[in-house]
Amino acid sequence: MAITSIKNLKEFSTANDRFEGAHLLCPGCAHSMIVRELMNCTDDNLVLASNTGCLEVSTAVYPYTSWDTSWIHIGFENSATAAACAESMYKARKRKGTLKDPDAPVKFVAFGGDGSTYDIGFQWLSGAMERGHDFTYICLDNENYANTGGQRSSATPVGAHTSTAQAGTHSYGKKQKKKDIVAIMAAHGAPYVAQLAPNKWKIMAKGFQKALETEGPCFINTVSACTTEWKFDPKDTIAVTDLATDSLMFPIYEIINGHELNILYRPKNVIPVEDYLGAQGRYKHLFKPQNRHVIDRIQNDVNEFWERLQRREEARI
């Protein structure tokens, strides 16, 4: 049953599930919420590909699988290529008449964490976007290599402590800014690009549906709060995500055809980033007097980015 006919969260929680509850993701991990929502927002058949990462290692450990649909994992970097070329095979077989059920509707979706999307799989993703395959790529962005114990990626924000960009007596954690993957994907001329969050589940479902219905390569960056590496209580996943979206650390917006930017969520009360940072252990060190300047920098960056998004929305360029 697709999400269009699901009225509320209670119905959603009992909806037919092609992503089985039995998996090995951490309690409180947002990955499963996002994946489940993607799979519940369409009744079409799905061909899914996953990069190596938390989602993959937790859902397909032989002899078990959590996937009640076609699913493939090859390596750390190539889910985009796997989904894209499965889509090419679909086109070829449809043309040649070798599909078992040629009329069955199907959608091709690739998943990757931020490590495999922003870093190691960046080239494969870029290539698949440029070639124009009809597929959707979803990044489950938890801002670090969580599967291997929390190393920095190019999605890790300024000031976060990770095991390879540590906070210490001589360091406040990661020094470099997070890569703007949404802008990069929009610059590929992709017909639909968005940043979405699971706390705003109706907006997310709508965005997923738009991506699946849009012909061509679509990209969605989803915020996936990581209880283990962000260091918060597993019960607080959605609360922390609320702080992320309401502080505008994670603005929710879409970009159509590379230039039509629409902000999809405007918090009624924008909260200071300090509230978001303070809810997570990975930013604990920023509250020491010598690091307060980093919080100021983050707030400043967030303000500037939000301003830019609004101006782009207005200008439509």
């Binding site: 058949n45 061909v47 590909a49 993959e56 290692v57 397909a60 450990v61 032989y62 002899p63 699988t65 996937w67 009640d68 649909t69 076609s70 699913w71 493939i72 994992h73 090859i74 390596g75 970097e77 190539n78 290529t81 796997a82 989904a83 894209a84 070329c85 499965a86 090419s88 095979m89 679909y90 086109k91 070829a92 077989r93 043309r95 040649k96 070798t98 599909l99 078992k100 059920d101 069955a104 199907v106 080239q123 494969w124 870029s126 290539g127 440029e130 070639r131």
Partner: protein, 413 residues
Amino acid sequence: MAEKFELNEVEVWDGNYAASQALRQAQIDVVAAYPITPSTPIVENYGAYQANGYVDGEFVMVESEHAAMSGCIGAAAAGGRVATATSSQGFALMAEVLYQASGMRLPIVLTVVNRALASPLNVRGDHSDMYLGRDSGWIQLDCFNSQEAYDLALCAFRIGEHLDVRLPVMVHQDGFTTSHKAQNVRPLQDEVAYKFVGDYVPVDDMLDFTRPVTHGAQTEEDWHYEHKAKQHKALMDSRKVIDEVLNEFKELTGREYKRVESYMMEDAEVAMVLLGSSVETAKLAAKQLREETGLKVGIVSPRCFRPFPYDLIREELDRENLKAVVCMDKSAPGGAMGALFNEVSAAAYSTKARPIITNYIYGLGGRDFSIDEAKRIMTEQKAHADAGYITTNIQQFSGVRGPKLGFFDTRRG
């Protein structure tokens, strides 16, 4: 339906063109590829077929060789026929995914136009890339000329896609000496070729929505070992299917191929074991040497590099008259004896005859291998045979500038 391609009974094709014609005739569903010298013309030719309606599958020009093989895997798991081509650095970039293709038991056909591996950068032919693939779990077939590059590409689909095999297959030809050398080739007509290759039979098809499949699961110490053992067994057992397919091809065309080719071995006193286009040079050298000096030289050439034909190599070398064997490795050995030497020696160790075996490194980076050079090396084997022990270093470099280069002596009589 693709346009019919008119072919003459005899065509003049280089190895690349021969390989691309075989791909066209196999009616591949998806070719995912990336260009690299010297295999580039294969994908260029395929692009021309596509632009002119001679193929009706998808042609995906990806952004790297790693993506080419990744794409082949994704496409193969979606239940259709898949092929690509590469060389050298591109092959090295693919290395990670080669193991995944074989571990996932996907019958992809990869034409490898053999070329040296950098550094120093070199576009000419040697067997460094072929050797790099030897533990990747693929079947590796070796062609000595253009005709074989065509014939064995057709056979590769039959072998890899066979339900008892289900493994990817590499078809190797030598960069430039085969890939860019035009020769007479006798092709099959399109319908005959396709009938031989047959329709693709999907297994664990991602596009069969009545039966969801999970491809590329994870295993640790609990199951990994069993998977790899089973994969190795499939590779070893593929020998039977390879023999059957080659036999069937012989019945169709009259052209006979064996997992190990041999030439004048019946009465041979010394033998040269080698791969690729050098086999043809060695055959001429052996024939001339027999005529000129009476030295009885034979040639042994593994046609099937993986699964390595220990059985047939042993048979070829277990001859009372055979005294000395030289294994020719066209790849920088990287601190060891050449790979062919190691494998042939291992096979020969369990023979009754136990001939003396030495190793030559030759032809690196496309350095020419001449008939005279082959004769000189063959003649040197006669010295070992007469002495009853190895009279030189066990491993030597042939045709390299500077002082004579060799390693290890033997005290074995």
